[in-house]
Every structure is written in C-alpha cells, then in structure tokens.
C-alpha cells in the first residue's frame, strides 16, 4: 500500500487519540486556574497560572512523605516479586522434585480466587504482626505473586534446555545456574514483570486504605482519596494533586513502554 493512502488512517487515529488525551489536557489546564476561573462558563482557555494550587496540595497533607512511601512500597514489592517469583519459577520450570506439579497448581489456584477472599485475614495477620500503619504492612503481602511466578515459569520454559545443561555438567549447582546463566537470559521477562508490578503497586488503592489509616504512612493513592475527602470540590487543587501523583508513573511508562506492552501481550497470549 502506498503511503499516500494512509492519511485517512492517520486522521481517524489522531481524532481518537485527541479524545483519549482530552481529559488530561483539561486536568493540566484546570490545575493552573484559580477557583474563580475554573468555575466560569464558558470555560477560560488561558489560565492565570495559579501555582498556589500545587502549594495547597503540600499544605493539605504530607504529600512528600506519601510520595516517599509510594516509592518505597513500589520498589519493595517489585524487587521482592522479581526475586521470589523468578527463583521459584526456575525451580518449577527446570528442576525435578516430588510434588512439583501439585504445589504449582495449588499456588496457581490463588489466581482463580477473587481478592476479597484474602483481604480480611490478610488484614488480621498484618494487625497481629503489629504492622498496621507501617511500611512493612503496606509492602509485605504484595511481595509474593502467583501471576509473576506463572509468567516467569512460562518464560523460562521458552529458553533452550541446552543452555543450562551445559552449565550443569560443568558442576554448577542450580542456584548458581539460575543466578549467573538463566537470570541474565530472562532479562526481558523480568523487565516485563517488573513494569507490570510497578504499575499495579503505584496505583494500588484498596489495601492501603485498609491497613494504613495514618496519613503519614499512606501512599499517594490513599492520600489523593483523603485530599478529595477534604477539598471536596476545590477542583484546581484536586487536579494539581492528581497530576503530581500520577505523573511519575506516566514517565516510567513512556520510558519502559516496550516492556510493559510485552508484559500485557503475554497476559493475552497465555
């Protein structure tokens, strides 16, 4: 097909993309307006650049602290998942031990159960460990993932067997093979799982709402919810807060786009 005939495709895609992006445009524009400007009809298209909306977000709650909590939570969950899932996934994919398939299927059954079935006991476990309103309470239950294990196992199974057979014969033990031979090869899979986990963790709302009631220990998602509870309809401030809370993950996505797309394509092809 000659490129001359591609312009209708571009037109349709561009119009669609504009519709998809419009809400963000409106978010940014409102964040820069004063309250009076925001509540004017017809709308004001050139804002007066009210940076005080952003300052107001920092006044309304411990935003920086919550940002830090979110970073720590996301990093903790993601690194742990990458380690624990790939370690176990390698064993499930390549090592032989009694009960291997039974254990694997038992773990996978977690994927079939709606999350609500875990929540109440999870809350109690965290409570009895004295972890309510702490970062470990926020992080630890999210460090283990049946989905991640499944995904990494599938990935390891696509790697040719010869690779580690060779290292094995060289006398290397499985942990060593895993660490220095398989893990480097599994980079694409790890990156895909990592990006998916970062995304899920950064945006997670329900668990933080449940375990961390102290604003100082909340991540941004729960902090935003509190901001909305307080400044119910002060839209410029709400837009400024939501913009600052979601921007970091959008940046990560733009950089790691390929890995995220691969991860999602994987979930679609299993």
């Amino acid at each position: 097909m000659r490129s001359g005939r591609l312009w209708p495709v571009h037109l349709v895609l561009a119009v669609g993309a504009a519709a998809m992006v419009m809400p963000f445009f409106w978010q940014v524009l409102t964040a820069l307006k004063s309250f009076t400007e925001a509540t004017r009809m017809p709308p004001v298209w050139i804002p007066s650049f009210e940076w005080s909306n952003f300052a107001e977000v920092f006044e309304a709650g411990p935003f920086l602290r919550q940002f830090g909590n979110t970073v720590v939570m996301t990093a903790g969950r993601t690194l742990a998942q990458l380690l624990f899932c790939s370690l176990a996934a390698y064993a499930f994919a390549r090592l032989r031990f009694p009960g291997r398939n039974v254990i694997f299927i038992a773990l996978l059954s977690v994927l079939m159960v709606p999350g609500q079935l875990f929540l109440i006991p999870q809350y109690q476990i965290v409570q009895s460990l004295g972890w309510l309103n702490t970062l470990p309470g926020l992080i630890v239950p999210g460090m283990f993932s049946a989905f991640g294990t499944f995904m990494m196992r599938q990935f390891f199974m696509t790697l040719p067997a010869e690779v580690e057979e060779a290292a094995r014969l060289d006398g290397a033990n499985p942990l060593r093979i895993f660490w220095s031979v398989m893990l480097p090869l599994a980079r694409p899979g790890l990156l895909a799982l990592g990006v998916l986990t970062v995304l899920w963790s950064w945006n997670d709302l329900m668990w933080p709402l449940i375990v961390n009631t102290d604003p100082e220990q909340m991540p941004l998602s729960a902090g935003l919810s509190a901001l909305q509870g307080e400044h119910m309809t002060d839209y410029p401030v709400l837009m400024a807060g939501s913009l600052m809370a979601s921007a970091p993950i959008i940046v990560v996505f733009v950089i790691m786009q390929k890995q995220l797309i691969q991860g999602i394509a994987f979930t679609g092809s299993k």
Partner: protein, 312 residues
C-alpha cells in the same frame, strides 16, 4: 562471550557422571528455591482463603470478637436487596465495558496498517489512561462530568443539550462510570488485539487480495475470525474486571451522593461491610458467594467459547 555461548561451550566438555550426581540432590535445591514464595503465598493468600471461609460462619462485634452463627450470614447475604442491586450494577457495568471492545479492535487494526508511521506515538497516547492512577482518573472525570462547570456539559451545550450532573444523577451515574471504565481499558485491550493481529499469517491476506477481496471483506473474512481467541480473552477479562470494580466507584460515589445506591458494586459493598461497618463475618460470606459467581461465570464463558471462538 555471552552466557549462552559460554554455556554451549561448557557443554561440549561435559561428562555424564557429573549430571548424575547433580540429579540426586536436585530436589533439595528445588524445595529451597520455591520456599520463600510458597511461604509467602501460603501465609498471605492460601491460608487466608481457608480463614475467610471459616469467618463466613461467624459474627463479629465492631471492635473484633467473633462468634459462630452457622449459615446466618449466607441467609442474610442472599436475601439482602442491597446485594441484589449491587450484583445487578456490577453486571451492568461489566456488560457496558464490553462495548469498548469494537473500539479497541478498530484501534489495533488501524495501528497495524502496514507502512504506518508514528505507531508508537499513537500507542502511547491511547495507553495513557491505562497507567494513570485510578484515584487521579476519578478526580479528572468527576470534574469533566460536573453539572455546572464540566467540559462535557459545555460541549453538549453546542448541540443544544442541557446536560445533568452526570455522576450525582441516579439515572446516569452508572453509565457515566462505565464510560470511564471503557476509556481506561481501550489502550490495554488494543495492545492485546495488536498481538493477536500480528500472529495472523500475512499470506492469508495476500491470497485474499489475489482473489479480489477488498479490505473490508478481508477484515470480516480473515481478521475477525482469527482474532476471536483474543476477543474471547478480552471479554473474559472485562467481565472479571467488572466483577472487581472498586476504585472508581469508591472514589466517585461518596456518602451523600444521591446516586450512591444506584452505583454500588459487589466489591465496594464488601469493602464498606468489612472495613467501614466492621461486619467481617457477613463480608466474608459475600466474598465466598462472589467466588462462586466468578467460578460459574468463567465455566460458562469457556463453554460458550466453543460456539464462536475460532482457534487456527
């Protein structure tokens, strides 16, 4: 030398007895390597399922003591009209989001046009809503939907339509939130469809072209049937995601919103019962019933797929 090269090189010098020795102790390594995960999933996921089932037969006081009450919770869960309403809302919401699938297919098909430039640019834009924090999405849309100052009502005013307070009006709120749901899913689904499209062998299109089939006929004759596994997967996912609907509903419909009753989903109701009202036993029973519904639905969908999904 890459890890692969090195491994292959090592293999060339391998001796069979080394392999033997290793096999003997393999199970120890196996258990050791799965131990952290099994422990974590066991403590935080598998054991809680059993506990939840137990809790569903108990009643809790507000600040935490439990007594055995048999099937009472289930009796209440199954007869409470609020649950029936929430289930209806949940299914309606899940069903409405299915309407986004044709849009996603169209986007994927257009992005798959051969020779198209700027593909990753478009993909980024369509994908933005997927990665945006739901708490932020809720704020943005509650502002767009605002009855007095919302952009949507402003746009409608050009068509002479006087819009309502979309998310405070019991008649429109559920549809309004479904639109947000579709908006957040289009990009995600399009990615899955793009992967599906790529797996369709190009010689089929070439053959069809030779037979004189136009692009539209090619789409309906080849693309759509061969894409059906992806369509199936996405619809299962949409329905299951619909059943899990919480964040947007929690954030958009707070106490005192007149549309609250019309928009509560099973999970948002579970959340208020378990963590706002402290009725943990009752909520556990809700979770068990939800699991049975999810299971039944999944089985049903897999049965139905034989009728329309075409595996190449």
């Amino acid at each position: 030398m890459s890890a692969l090269d090195r491994a292959v090189a090592v293999r060339a010098a391998a001796r069979p007895s080394a392999r033997r020795r290793l096999r003997d102790r393999e199970w120890v390594w196996g258990y050791a390597m799965i131990a952290p995960l099994v422990l974590g999933l066991g403590v935080f996921y598998l054991w809680p399922v059993a506990q939840s089932v137990y809790y569903s037969f108990t009643e809790w006081t507000l600040f935490g003591d439990a007594t055995w009450i048999g099937l009472d919770n289930y009796r209440q869960v199954l007869t409470d009209p609020a649950n029936a309403k929430a289930l209806r809302n949940t299914f309606l919401y899940g069903g409405l989001t299915l309407l986004g699938i044709p849009v996603s297919i169209a986007v994927a098909a257009l992005l798959g046009t051969r020779g198209l430039k700027l593909v990753s640019f478009y993909r980024t834009l369509y994908f933005l809503p997927v990665v945006t924090m739901p708490a932020a999405v809720a704020m943005i849309w509650s502002w767009l939907y605002n009855g007095d100052y919302g952009l949507i009502n402003y746009a409608l005013s050009f068509a002479g339509i006087e819009g309502t307070s979309w998310i405070a009006d019991p008649d429109t709120a559920l549809y309004a939130v479904a639109v947000v749901g579709i908006w957040t899913q289009i990009g995600y689904n399009a990615v899955i469809f793009m992967a599906g499209l790529q797996s369709i062998p190009s010689h089929l299109y070439e053959a069809a072209s030779i037979d004189g089939a136009g692009r539209v006929r090619q789409f309906f004759g080849i693309t759509l049937p061969l894409l059906s596994p992806s369509v199936f997967f996405v619809s299962v996912l949409s329905v299951i995601n619909g059943l899990q609907m919480f964040d947007l509903v929690y954030l958009l419909f707070r106490k005192g919103n007149p549309a609250r009753e019309e928009t509560q989903t099973v999970v948002s109701l579970f959340f208020s019962r378990a963590f706002e009202e402290g009725a943990k036993g009752y909520a556990a029973a809700m979770a068990v019933v939800l699991m049975l519904i999810t299971l039944a639905l999944t089985v049903f969908q897999f049965r139905m797929q034989k009728r329309w999904v075409h595996y190449a």
